[in-house]
Symmetry: C5
Subunit: 246 residues, 5 copies
């Protein structure tokens, strides 16, 4: 469970709602349906126009990673790979067949299957790196959906504010409405900048970090499997793979 | 058919028109011929000055990709390449001659012709990568036309707003005209920021994604054809190429 | 003749002058000697301080490329290179001697001379790539003079506007002068943003595109000459070089 | 002791507090709890939402580096490595065993152990570069916590200012409160821009420089250890390693 | 003597001082000690906090390069290297010993010494590239001191302006002071943007160009010395090195 994400989202609400109360406008002043329409619908519009449908859906499906990133147990994977290298040394690569079939992670499973088939180390590396690259690109594209929303949102906040000011300007005769009108116009700016900097951009960065973590994990698995294919010494394999742990 | 593009463009209109109505200015306030002249003509002027004519035309011709990207069937291409590798194994590279002549995609056709001619794998890769690179650069240059318009448009929106404010300032004596004048000045900002963030930039990004998809597809074809040239095992070829599918 | 550049510059004038008329300030309001002094002299000052003299002069000498880029005839160069490869096959590299001496383009001439001297392909590539890189860097540095002016100009526009507002603020007592004073202050912004986005940045981008085109052309010549040096098949050479044409 | 950091932080206080006094607002005008809540809590919220917990803690633990970066004695390390190369020449790699066990820096210790075990130079380099890369990425991620806070803080300053202006606008009737209200609204901007440019961004840059220094130091150690593994001449090793000193 | 730097600095003063006179505020309006304190002390504070002391001093010591860059005579260096290659051909590498000892440039001297010692070309390249890289990084870090000041200065200009406006807002009752107060507030903006765009950023760019020039010069020397070590033909060496001259 990623408590930092929960703390971050909570504090973001505290900063915005608490700030508005402390500044003396109260929470109610933050609600403006027209601003909501312009900023939220506009940001979603830009993201939809820009994205491919499968990437957009994937981005949305990555949101739960905020609270629980896909499980990566580097320590366990190293132990398993070192164990595999010892079996391979004793019984040959065919000795890994049962273990390869039991493997549940599709990436490791593909690698072990190639190993058992006697594929050369260089070829295993090439094949797995294509896999890794395609998966990484897809995940990063999902994370970038939020980045792009974080870029579009503030600009739509400006559009909302300008539209609000235009409405005010057309009614300059009524000074009573001037102040509240300008205040209402500004709400769009808060929506745009707030959504970008307290949600979209940090979320995009957290997801990108999770993707890079998975890539590093998979690179370690590639290093381990190719080292086994090259018949390297289990002790050297462990020494190398341990470098992936801080 | 890319429904996301249609949804995005529709929601963009909803956000702008609906927002203007909800804010109380109405749709009519969004129409200003002078602002239109400055922002639209100015943005086009900058793009024309910057672009080469064949790139500019190509960029315009890529617009329909928003609704239907050039067809890429990775699954079918993998099947075809694996099939070719099996034929090559049985009948030799010359056995591919009829298939090479039937190929309609010019890129694959060039690759297969090189294969049939007995060109070495390394040379095939070099030749096809020049092709791929030149095509990719040209397509990306087309997509960047829209990116550059998305960069120029907001700056022209500022010029339009400043010109509008200048006109207002020269008539400060008439307070009746002050409000509507400022409102009219602001319209240019909406044109510039709106065109950039609800059209040019998302469009450029969608086109770039389509170009990268084509490049990945062509890289897969290069990988497949060079693997056949190297006489690799059809099963390994399939295993590698399947990595290009998520 | 690059009609796009002419169209772009013309439309830029239409947008600015026409926009000012349509907004109701008229063309006269756009002329302000103080703003001109700050923005134009300031931008030139920054560019001079930043640049090396030979790069600055080169940048200015590249301006005519806007209307006529240095002639590149890829099609003719491919034919010539394929022809050279056929002669080399029949008569040996020495058979190219007369043609090498007749070559007028200094880059091709240097390459052909190396070929005739019997230099190895790898060495020819290394020598020509140093040449290509140095020329490309110099040309890009020339194009970047305009880019940097496009970055400095808007900031000087802000300085001009602030100075104008300062002058207005010191004479707040005279409300008659307030409006025209603010309007005059804004002119500097138009100069800065307009010069950057309707001239400097598009010009820099057009020049950069021309430079990249020349680099691609020279890379093709390097590919062709080294392929001849390696005694490659004229048909393969043609197949590869044709990839440089879209 | 890094006196520049102390001088920088002191001068930053002088600029802000002294500036506020010299401008005539006094220091008291700089204190505004609502602005503090929005900018500081908001910036922390964004950083928490974005970061992984171990990276966030690591970033905080790197703060003392501002005043004392982790000790790097390149001169001493070169002497030690040259000495090791001489011993290896005379007594063989096993002669380094005692020294390897005495080494306290974990990175050098791992390298020396690999050397004593007779690992090949290429394998040592690969193993140590994984180590170096993982450590560098982790340290840079820690430094980037401050960079991201430096990016979020000014945007939250704008939110704070807008909220403050909204509160003012809702009380336009009371002209007495107008001036102080606007002044109070502006404080959030000073918090945001000041925190970013006088603390977060310079701190992030100083930490990054320290990380790059450590990486260069470790690259030198890798160069030295692999040169010993290759049995290179101590004089050449010294000549190469001395290049790491300016 | 770099007359462009002198012309640039002079024109910058003309633009700022002349502009202020032409706008009607006069030169006196540009002097504001509080703004000076905030912008100049603040910018220096940020740079000090960010920099390492030896880099900061080095950056300051690079300032005279504005007027006279370190002497690079590529033509003479090529002649010397070709001459050395001829001597090496006739008398062997030991024939270069006296010349190596007479060499005054430390970089060339180190290279020639390695040559005379009979070090292999590949090893010479590796050793000299470490040297070149460390020197280049240090020089670039010095140039970036000015770049970072050019980034911090405008943000401190905004802080100064905001502080000035805050002081004005707290005295709204006195309309006499309103105009001059706002004008004084704006001066900080001019300091920040002016210092950045008319000094810091162009200076940083000029210094970076000088550093890249030195790096290119040293790369040419590495190319020349390694070519001599490989016993290459003096004519080929000259042909390659001449490519470094435009």
């Amino acid at each position: 469970m990623d408590f930092l994400s929960i703390a971050g989202l909570t504090l973001a609400l505290v900063a915005i709602l608490g700030g508005s109360i402390a500044k003396g406008s109260g929470v109610g002043a933050l609600w403006n349906p027209a601003a909501f329409l312009i900023v939220v619908v506009g940001t979603v519009a830009a993201a939809l126009l820009q994205a491919q449908i499968k990437v957009f859906i994937h981005g949305m499906q990555m949101l739960p990673w905020l609270f629980k990133a896909p499980g990566i147990d580097t320590e366990a994977a190293i132990e398993k790979l070192v164990n595999l290298s010892q079996i391979a040394r004793k019984e040959g690569l065919l000795g890994l067949e049962t273990l390869a079939e039991q493997e549940t992670d599709p990436f490791s499973s593909k690698g072990l299957q190639l190993l058992v088939d006697g594929t050369e180390a260089e070829a295993i590396r090439n094949i797995l790196e294509v896999d890794l690259g395609v998966k990484e690109q897809f995940d990063l594209a999902g994370a970038k959906i939020f980045e792009s929303m974080g870029i579009y949102a503030p600009t739509l906040g400006i559009i909302g504010a300008v539209m609000g000011l235009m409405a005010v300007m057309q009614n300059l005769n009524d000074p009573e409405k001037l102040g509240p009108g300008i205040a209402a116009a500004f709400v769009a700016t808060i929506y745009g900048i707030g959504a970008a900097n307290l949600f979209f951009l940090p979320v995009s960065n957290k997801l990108k970090t999770a993707v890079h973590g998975q890539t590093a994990y998979r690179e370690m698995i590639i290093d381990g499997i190719t080292a086994i294919a090259e018949g390297e010494n289990p002790r050297n394999i462990e020494s190398k793979l341990r470098g992936y742990i801080l």
